[in-house]
Structures are given as structure tokens and as C-alpha cells.
Assembly symmetry: C2
Homo-oligomer: 422 residues x 2
């Protein structure tokens, strides 16, 4: 009575090994609950001779062998990156196999091509694992909340950035030390820029945007900023003013316009994402029927990601023959909208008479009014900082005010501008 799914794992790294572990541990229970029997038929690896969680006869070294093996029903793509992942997924689909992937980069760039190929082949592509690891957010948006007109979602989609900012906040660490700690804990790569620079979150934002709004976006269309510029003083002043700095990804619709952003932002203490700490991910979804809903959990790591991959495998096996599971073949195009928000500004100033007056005048001349101001010079002329929180203002107005400030007085360095997300 059980439907056996013979899996071909393309990759046996962190996620692939987690998947083998989880299948070994829970396959019997999964079969009992779902009627789907899981069998790991084959796994593609690169280097022979390494210790592996599978017997040697189930390893293979040739990608073509895996994606065309008649003994494989479903290919799990967990090698990451664009190529050869993309070509192999396409070949697997052409060979009549379903595909499950955790690869947000390839979906964000080549999603349309992959889903078109899947539709042509009558196969399914599962990608729950590509966004927020173990949190079933893809299912929630494409199925659980399908009756809703969703206006907006705000997510903490990158666990590494959240961990780094949490250590800076809770342990008062400077940025480089917090990054080092994340690397020690296996939460950041040796080169952390993909995570802390916001590109990883941007890829996830693109996938969720396609699912939610049927809009195809590219990285270039996202206002993208990493967390590298955040200094302890920003976190300290935000805290004094009642905010915590979080790495957000935002999609907000206004009519037919869509505002897509990935950047660190100040959120009020009482904001539902304000307490989402460490490497946790969360997504706040606003829909016309459900109001506000929040999904919170571990967004990365071997077992949470493997959990999402397995959930897709079971779902595909249950729906077999039903064609593409989710079909984010976006038709609408993105139109940019200039979103207004409160802003936090940090201006590195010299300790000189008249400076605060000049800055205040420049802001006033652009019609920006402020709610909080704090200046610190700490007794040394080369360490001054002026921190400002504005009333809701358009980004272009903030930028013009910063130009005025530059024209009116010399600053010690580049200003830091962070949005406040209420």
C-alpha cells in the first residue's frame, strides 16, 4: 500500500547528510503517517574515499548517472550555487523526475525557466527548504493563506545576520567579533558577505514575492543593504530610544506598486519581530482575512532544512501525477514605489561650534522634523556622533537633506541611514 519514493541526493554536504540522518531516524514514522515510503537510492558525491553516511554502492560520482538513473524517482538538489545545479535540475526534470531543492539562488535567478521545464515535463518542483529552512512558509503562503489578499510581509530571513546583530545587542560586541562568533558557531561562512551583505535574504525575498504577489523580481530591483555598517553606538542609541535593530526583508504592495527591501532597520521593542533573536528566522504576513500572522523558527541548519526537503518529498509523492505543486510563473512586473518611513540617521561630526545648528537647519530646510536627537563628542574632536530620529519622510527627501548637510559642514565620514519599520 505504501508509495515508495526512490531518492537521488545531489550532494551529501550539510543538508544532504541531515537528510540521510532524518530518513534513517524517522522514515518508519513518516510512512505510518503519510503512506509514503522513503528510500535513498543514490547520492552524488565529489570526492571518493571520504567517510559517508551511505554504503559505497549507493554513492555515485557522475551527475549524469544520478539525474538519469531509472531507479531514481525524485532528485534532491542540495549542492547549492547556480551551476551545475541549474542544468542538473533541468536534466532531471527532462528525465521525468520530480525535483526538490533548497537552492534559493537558482530559484531567484532562474525560477521561471525551471518551472516552465517542470510544467513541460509534467513533474513537480518542491522548494519549501529554500526559504526559512524548517518553517513551512512556502506552504503557508501558497496553500494555508491562499484565500488572502496579502498586502505585505516582513521577514527576518537571514539567520546569520540576526545572530550577529543579536550578539552586538545582547553581548555588546563590536561587529567583527560578533561575525567571528557566528563563524565559530558554524552560522557564517569564512567569507560571510553573502549573508551579512543581504544577498541571501534578497534571494529568499524574490522567492516569497513570486509566491505572494505573482511578481518576478530581480536583485537589482531590491533596495539592498547589508549589516556591515552597524556600529555598537547605533545599537545602543536605538535601545535608548526604544528600538532594536533587525535585519529585515520587506515586501509591501501599494495598489499595483511593490516596494521590496532588504536592510537592517530599527523596530520598536513591542514590534512582533523585535524579540526574534539569535539565528531564528520569522515572517510576519498581513492578509485581508487573517490579519497579522507570524511564523517563527530555525531558518537554517542541517536538520531544519532537511525537514523542509522531506516535507516536499512526501507532498509530491502524495500528489503524484498532479503536475507542478506550486507554480510561481510570474506574469506581473514590478513597479517601484518610494516608501515613506521614519528614519534613524547617524552623522559622524567634528566637535565644532555651530555644527548642530547647521545640521538642524539643513533638515528643517527639507521639511524634515525630528523626534529624537542626541549628540556625543566624548571629549575628542574626532569621535563625535550625532544621532537623529525623524518623523515619516520619503527617502529622496532624506537624501536631499544629507546633501545639504554635506554642503553646509564637513563630516568625519559617511552618514549611516537606517529605516524604522513600525
Amino acid at each position: 500500500m505504501a508509495d515508495t519514493v526512490r531518492l537521488g541526493l545531489m550532494g551529501l554536504g550539510t543538508v544532504g547528510s541531515g537528510l540521510v540522518e532524518l530518513v534513517n531516524r524517522n522514515a518508519a514514522a513518516i510512512e505510518q503517517k503519510s503512506g509514503v515510503r522513503l528510500e535513498i537510492a543514490k547520492a552524488l558525491v565529489k570526492t571518493p574515499g571520504k567517510p559517508r553516511p551511505l554504503p559505497p554502492e549507493r554513492l555515485c560520482y557522475d551527475p549524469a548517472e544520478l539525474v538519469e538513473d531509472p531507479e531514481v524517482d525524485l532528485v534532491v538538489e542540495v549542492i547549492g550555487g547556480i551551476e551545475p545545479a541549474k542544468s542538473l535540475m533541468l536534466r532531471a526534470l527532462e528525465a521525468g523526475k520530480d525535483v526538490v531543492t533548497a537552492n534559493k539562488a537558482v530559484l531567484a535567478r532562474h525560477g521561471a525557466e525551471i518551472f516552465t521545464a517542470a510544467a513541460r515535463a509534467g513533474r513537480q518542483v518542491g522548494f519549501e527548504a529554500s526559504v526559512c529552512g524548517g518553517i513551512p512558509i512556502v506552504r503557508a503562503i501558497s496553500s494555508g493563506l491562499i484565500a488572502n489578499d496579502i498586502d505585505e510581509f516582513v521577514g527576518i530571513l537571514n539567520g546569520t545576520s540576526n545572530y550577529v546583530l543579536t550578539r552586538m545587542y545582547k553581548d555588546k560586541l563590536p561587529y567583527p567579533e560578533a561575525v567571528r562568533l557566528a563563524q565559530e558557531k558554524g552560522l557564517a561562512e569564512a567569507d560571510p558577505s553573502f549573508d551579512v551583505g543581504g544577498l541571501d535574504a534578497a534571494h529568499k525575498l524574490i522567492v516569497l514575492t513570486e509566491l505572494t504577489f505573482q511578481v518576478k523580481a530581480t536583485v537589482d530591483e531590491i533596495e539592498l543593504e547589508g549589516i556591515e555598517q552597524i556600529e555598537p553606538v547605533d545599537i545602543e542609541i536605538a535601545d535608548q530610544f526604544g528600538f532594536v535593530i533587525k535585519p529585515l526583508a520587506v515586501a509591501r504592495r501599494q495598489g499595483e506598486l511593490l516596494d521590496l527591501r532588504v536592510h537592517p532597520a530599527l523596530v520598536p521593542f513591542e514590534h512582533p519581530l523585535g524579540a526574534v533573536s539569535d539565528e531564528f528566522n520569522a515572517v510576519l504576513v498581513k492578509g485581508d482575512a487573517i490579519g497579522e500572522m507570524i511564523f517563527l523558527g530555525k531558518g537554517a541548519g542541517s536538520l531544519p532544512t532537511a525537514s523542509a526537503v522531506l516535507s516536499d518529498i512526501v507532498e509530491i509523492a502524495r500528489n503524484s501525477g498532479n503536475g507542478v505543486m506550486w507554480n510561481p510563473l510570474a506574469s506581473r512586473r514590478l513597479a517601484h514605489v518610494e516608501a515613506t518611513s521614519r528614519y534613524y540617521l547617524r552623522l559622524p561630526i567634528y566637535d565644532r561650534p555651530g555644527l548642530i545648528g547647521k545640521i538642524g537647519t539643513a533638515l528643517g530646510d527639507e521639511g524634515i522634523s525630528v523626534t529624537h536627537v542626541q549628540a556625543r563628542v566624548a571629549g575628542r574632536a574626532d569621535e563625535g556622533q550625532m544621532m537623529i530620529i525623524t518623523h515619516p519622510t520619503a527617502e529622496s527627501v532624506v537624501n536631499r537633506a544629507l546633501e545639504r548637510i554635506h554642503a553646509a559642514c564637513a563630516l568625519r565620514g559617511a552618514p549611516v541611514t537606517l529605516r524604522i519599520v513600525d
Copy 2:
């Protein structure tokens, strides 16, 4: 290309009307996203002549007509209660129609019979709306988290109770006034006992327990306690000691034993459910792959519930011919386990010398050690209260200690005993 589903609504009350509103508003978008076209073919109502959101020719007054109408593909049961809801659902299934229901009471008592009938008829039963309204928790457990071995879940499953306790906490209202406010806001019935007494949460706990553990439980097997006994002093003292009182539903597995409870409990401020306020629901799920995951949103109300009902309808239409969507035909039986926890005790005492010594001795004689004690007599002998927080203790030991206390000294009234959920 669209799959049309002709709906028969059994009931046009709060949820039924919400469903009509949501279909009118979002059916085109749902069709575009899912390929499923929704059509409300007929609705069963009781009283002729009332204003209705559907034209008269689509209303019917005879249940048999609705459940056997060849123009109806799927019956939405939103009349609530056990009968005639249960018989009509069974007749609809026999007549070859899928069924979607928001009725936790009927599932908790007669779930096995209904799912057996569905399996026999080769039809599906959707029940996302029966637990936590708009939150897709049924999908999460039965699909998104299916690869996990779940040890435990803790939920705030009854929005009315949460709202009442929130008003008592935030607005310092006594219990009867908080209940009145809930009634004014439409969050509590004229007779609120089904919600505040815990039975509604118990039904939802039974549904989630079947899904999560494949264990069939009955209300009698749940340690069940309402929030009626909570007084402002409990909330105030809990707050002083670092806790907030929340209406919890708990399912915790220990080997083959299962501990099922519905009761108000103290949770530490920093607990993830501590900040879930007002009428919000939330479920914290602990799984071996995902770790801790939280789902939070509106658990009741017309549109959130209609959102869940529609999500099931779309899912059933997509999987058509696939048999029962979820199959909580539990086989395992429940074995009780005595769970140990910290306890909060409030003892109504008289202001008499030696009393605190006697109470302390009684606790000590049972081996209970305490972490916090506070006594108040407020200058009047008939208003004394003694509040105690214990170290982790078995319930039977707490009960024996209370017997010793009763034997050693007269109390003004019954003690209040609340668990602490860490």
C-alpha cells in the same frame, strides 16, 4: 482549464457569511493562483426572510436537499455542535461529496467515524479551520513538519480565555468585568463557560493530538481546568515573580506516555508564549529536526476561519481523487503520565499566629521546597492570602501537601493551584 468547485454551505452564520464575503472578494485571485474556481451553489439556512448575502434562489431550507444536491461538489459544515452536524457530514460523504468543517467538537468526539466514512466513500475531509482559525497549523503538523518526531506542543488555543486574562493583566480588571468586555467585543458568548471553562481548547487539543501523535484522546483523559478561579491577586503576584498567566493546552510525550492538559499556567516573561496577548492564538511545536517553532495569529472570527475553510477547499480541489487528505484515524491509546512542574499555590489564610509555620512544615514534610513566598493579610483577618512558588514537584505530592495543610490549619477557602510551564 479551471477546476470548478461548487460549494454547498451548511450554515450562513458568522463563518458562513465570512466565507461568502471572502469568495466574493478574492475568488478571481484564488483562481489565478491555484487554478481552482469557486462557486457558491447553495446555502442551507433556518429562517426564511432574513437578509442574506446570497440571492434567494441559492438558499435552501432542507438539509437533505443540500447534502444530496448533484449540483454540489463539496459541503462546508459551519453550523457547529454535534447534531445534526455529524449526521449531515456523514450523509454528504455517502452522497460522494467532500466535506470541509470548522467543527472541533464533532471531530474531537466522532473524528474516527467521520474519517472512516470518508475513506469508505473515497472523499476528503478538511478541518484546518477547526483549530486556531486562520493559522495553518493542521497543515503545518500534517505536512510541513511531517518529517519530525514531535515531543511536545504547547498552545494558546482559546482566544476568549487569552483575551480575558490579558485584560485582567493589562487593565487590572477583575475576572467578571474582563468577561463582560469580551462579550461586548463579540469574543465571548452570553454563556462563556465553553470557552473560559477549557472545553473548547480541549476539543482542539484532541484534534492536534490525533494529528501529531496518532493518539485518540477523549475529554475525560485531559487534565482540564478553566480560568474562572483566577483572581487579580494571582496575576499581580505572578507578575512580581516574573510570570504571566496564560491559558495553555499542553501535549507532552514521554516514551509511550502522553500528558494532555488544558489549564491556566504561569509562564516566565521570556517564554515565547508570554507575549501572545489579547485574542491571539499561538502554538509552539517542538520537533527533533526543527527545534522550536511558533505559529501565531488570529484563532477565531469570521474571516480568519473562512480563510482556513477556503484553504481546505482549494487543497481538496487540487488533490481531487487522492482520497482522504489527512487521516487521523488514531490507533494508539493514551497512557497517562504524571508530569512534574513548578507550582504556584495561593492559600486563603486567616491572620493567626503560627499559621505560616504550619504551612511551611506541611510542605517540608512532603519534601517540597519553595523558591518564593509572599503572605498578605492586609490588616483584616478575613482577607489573608499566602502565595508560594515551589521547585519542580509531582502533582500527587502537591495534593498530599495540601491535605496536610488542611489537616494542620483552617483555611478561608479552597487553595488555588497553578502549574508553571517553563
